[in-house]
Symmetry: C2
Subunit: 203 residues, 2 copies
DNA sequence: GTCTATATAGCGATAGAC
DNA sequence: GTCTATCGCTATATAGAC
């Protein structure tokens, strides 16, 4: 009657890194940098807490890697849209917006980014977050060919979407008509996706 | 050679409450709910840590009071603008936007609000944050007479401004031309205020 | 490659004096 | 009205076995 060993099955380091990063993205996105524990990340990834620390050195470094991964995916998704259509394509902003909303599927990704943006006062994470934000802005202006107004609109609505997801407004969608009105007013085309993802998340 | 007693001079409870709330607003705004310590709040207010806890019961409750105070000030500022001009006044959105930016002077106020918005997953703070956000939205639609597009624009740019302040982008204003470009693109009329406040904050 | 055990530190909260 | 002292919990990080 030997109990199954609770040791995680062996896995190549690179693969394990990837799955821990994925788990960390979700945990950091939901609880923020300070609120997230390395133990919660470990449990989400199915490994022990010290193993997470050993693999990434420190919690701070783990968060930095989550941030960079999120930025890579975001910039990559945008570049794929631009490459597939070209700067002069009709409604490039709409296509980029759809790509952005699509990243909500990667759980915690946009939220981890937003959590990083809130850490401007941190001496290590702050600079990294600012650099990341500027990278996104630079892509919009230089690679997507956005003018000042277009970039402003795009980024502003992105921050609004992030905020609505972070605050969990979709959880009131069914019960509160005002919440429903707000979501459909401020995130019209993304409304269904937000709501569906939250429902799926609770299931 | 007796040392000055480190005991804070006696003060009426109501007054002490107010100054602790003010200090807490600044600390929560800068470090977030989890990252802020009751000790940092106490030091900023010039009292002992147990006294802060004793007066507000718990850190959670202190944060809720900070949130409500911030909302009161925000809604009050908006209502003052509306009362002073009337719904049909020209450029009501511009005047409300100016009032919003003006609240940046109340250090940490808009940041504490934003930090609350990031806590949607918290079982106590989450609902309070959502209710607060909906109050603001309701005021814009019903009291300011904003249409859907107008409210969307206003809130989106508000979230963008919050994010730029939280990430501390103004600290790169002088050294990084891209940061300067971003700030002047996405917060044109507020750019100077953001930058000035941060410089003043470092001094 | 992964775990158990544990050192160490920081923080929220309580007790009780003045 | 305000403090000092301190408890007890949680969390990151280290040491070392397998």
């Amino acid at each position: 009657m030997t109990v199954t060993p609770e040791t995680a099955t062996r896995m190549p380091a690179a693969e394990r890194r990837a799955s821990i990063l994925e788990a960390a993205t979700e945990v950091f996105g939901a609880r923020g940098y300070v609120g997230a524990t390395t133990d919660a990340v470990a449990k989400a990834a199915g490994v022990s807490q010290p193993y997470v620390v050993r693999m990434f050195g420190t919690k701070e470094n783990l968060f930095l890697e989550v941030l960079h991964r999120a930025l890579d995916r975001l910039l990559g998704a945008f570049r794929a849209v631009i490459a597939g259509h070209g700067t002069s394509a009709p409604d490039l902003a709409g296509r980029l917006g759809a790509a952005y909303a699509d990243l909500l599927r990667d759980r915690g990704l946009l939220l981890s980014l937003m959590q990083a943006f809130m850490l401007g006062a941190d001496p290590v994470i702050g600079p990294a977050a600012r650099a990341g934000f500027l990278q996104v802005y630079g892509l919009l202006r230089e690679e997507a060919g956005f003018g000042a107004d277009e970039a402003d609109q795009f980024l502003s609505h992105g921050m609004m979407l992030n905020t609505l997801v972070a605050i969990g407004m979709a959880s009131e969608y069914d019960s509160d008509p005002a919440a429903r009105d707000l979501i459909e007013t401020c995130a019209p085309s993304k409304a269904l996706m937000i709501v569906d993802l939250e429902k799926q998340q609770r299931a």
